[in-house]
């Protein structure tokens, strides 16, 4: 081809085009390897993660999961002043204690005055109509001696009043 031919520069364009194509191809290949399968399924994130989040195991089972094995405590509790307090609040999540409706580990014991005062210590920030005491004063008034077990001399935590 003569250098003054109108198509003399065409081959540069073809080479550039080929390079561009190569670049695009490489990008597509690399991208298909790096981008997760479910990316963009629902939006700009990995769609499979939604299902992964949902599969997370439950720890708290609610009072119903306790009543099956502990009907007596459940009955006492339901009739007492702590009926609105869930079992797992004072005890621990049922998943630490039973699996597939069968016992596998003891519940941690937190039967101390510290647990009681976490709700009933008189605090300025607490709603005024919530039952509160100054524990040392209250126990002294009742003629007791304040200690970790003091509350349980008079109160059954399942039905305190």
């Amino acid at each position: 081809m003569r250098t003054d031919h109108p198509l003399w520069h065409a081959k540069h364009i073809v080479r550039m085009g080929l390079l561009l194509l190569l670049g695009v191809t490489v990008m597509i290949v690399v991208r298909s390897l790096l981008v997760p399968d479910t990316w963009g399924q629902y939006g700009w994130y990995r769609g499979a993660n939604v299902e992964e989040q949902r599969d997370h195991p439950l720890q708290h089972g609610g009072d119903a999961s306790c009543a099956g094995c502990h009907p007596e405590q459940e009955a006492t509790h339901a009739a007492g002043a702590h009926a609105a307090v869930r079992c797992e609040l004072c005890h621990a999540p049922v998943a630490l204690h039973a699996k597939d409706d069968a016992y596998f580990a003891a519940m941690p014991v937190r039967r101390t005055a510290a647990l009681c005062v976490s709700c009933h210590q008189r605090l300025a920030a607490r709603p005024a109509d919530f039952p509160q005491i100054r524990p040392q004063e209250h126990v002294a008034e009742m003629g007791g001696e304040y200690g970790p077990e003091a509350c349980f001399d008079c109160h059954d935590p399942h039905a305190p009043l």
Binding site: M1, H5, L7, A10, V14, G17, L18, L20, L21, V24, T25, M27, I28, R31, S32, V35, P36, W39, G40, Q41, Y42, G43, W44, Y45, R46, N49, V50, E51, E52, Q53, R54, D55, H56, P57, L58, Q59, H60, G62, A84, V85, R86, E88, L89, A92, P93, A95, L96, V117, S118, C119, Q121, R122, L123, A124, A125, R126, P127, F130
Partner: protein, 261 residues
């Protein structure tokens, strides 16, 4: 191509032209393919369970006047979601505001162990507890800054983090104006409240709402007209934290004081 010799390398003009044409078509197809890969597919409901996320819209409600600051929610969340010590997906703050004075705020261990009386403190003009949690904003500053698409909002209004994608840059932790996110020291990825998404989709309440002894916390479904939360949101005076930021929090408050940020 118009060379006197006709062919240089064994290809005649027709074949060459044909080859280039095919190459162009293939290139165009590949480009369109790439666009197809980049654009999200049109979305539908998740098919894997009977929970249809297009039929739910979760909102949260906190009545600060009911909170007794026992910390049961913080403890429940910690176990339910395996939250490491020193990190909080929900926490309880105590405000002491003397008449005409400056607010004092404390939250020892996020309130997990409850609160003790403030030693030597004068009787405050007002004092109250404020439970805090991720607001699951509709306009999320946190997901917007994520450089790898690890954080996102679900169709039913929950802001989540994909730990597999997260690179732990901490940008979202800084972007959240409510301090709701943390970097998990074990995985070095961002973590946050999920509104116990694993419980919601199974028809359960969140761990914090379920454990609260005074019903200071509520979670509800805006798409369910029978949900009691809708009655409250429609008839009570509600507030959100830092409304001036226009993040549209989906966690609403009753009895909030203007000192609370």
């Amino acid at each position: 191509m118009n060379d006197a010799t006709g062919t240089r390398d064994g290809l005649d003009d027709a074949t060459r032209r044909e080859f280039l044409k095919r190459l162009a078509v293939a290139g165009a197809a590949a480009s369109f393919g790439a666009i197809g890969l980049i654009l999200p597919e049109s979305a539908g409901a998740l098919a894997t369970s009977d929970y249809d996320w297009t039929r739910h819209r979760w909102v949260y409600l906190i009545d600060t006047r009911k909170c007794i600051g026992c910390g049961a929610c913080v403890r429940a969340c910690r176990v339910e979601n395996d939250v490491p010590d020193g990190m909080y997906r929900t926490w309880v703050e105590r405000y002491h505001i003397p008449a005409g004075g400056e607010a004092a705020v404390d939250s020892p261990d996020g309130g997990a162990g409850g609160f003790l009386p403030v030693a030597g403190a004068a009787e405050p003009g007002k004092a109250f507890f404020v439970p805090k949690i991720c607001n699951h904003c509709e306009q999320t500053p946190c997901t917007q800054v994520c450089p790898v698409g690890a954080s996102y909002s679900t169709r039913d209004g929950v802001v989540l983090v994909d730990a597999e994608r997260c690179i732990g840059c901490g940008y979202c932790v800084q972007a959240c104006p409510y301090g709701s996110r943390y970097l998990d020291p074990r995985t070095h990825t961002a973590e946050k409240c999920t509104w116990c998404y694993h419980r919601l989709v199974k028809g359960r309440s969140t761990a914090c709402v379920g454990i609260c002894p005074t019903a200071a916390r509520m979670i509800g479904d805006r798409e369910n007209p029978d949900d009691p939360i809708n009655e409250i949101l429609a008839t009570q005076r509600i507030l959100v934290l830092q409304p001036e930021l226009l993040t549209k929090p989906q966690c609403f408050y009753l009895g909030l004081d203007m000192e609370v940020r």
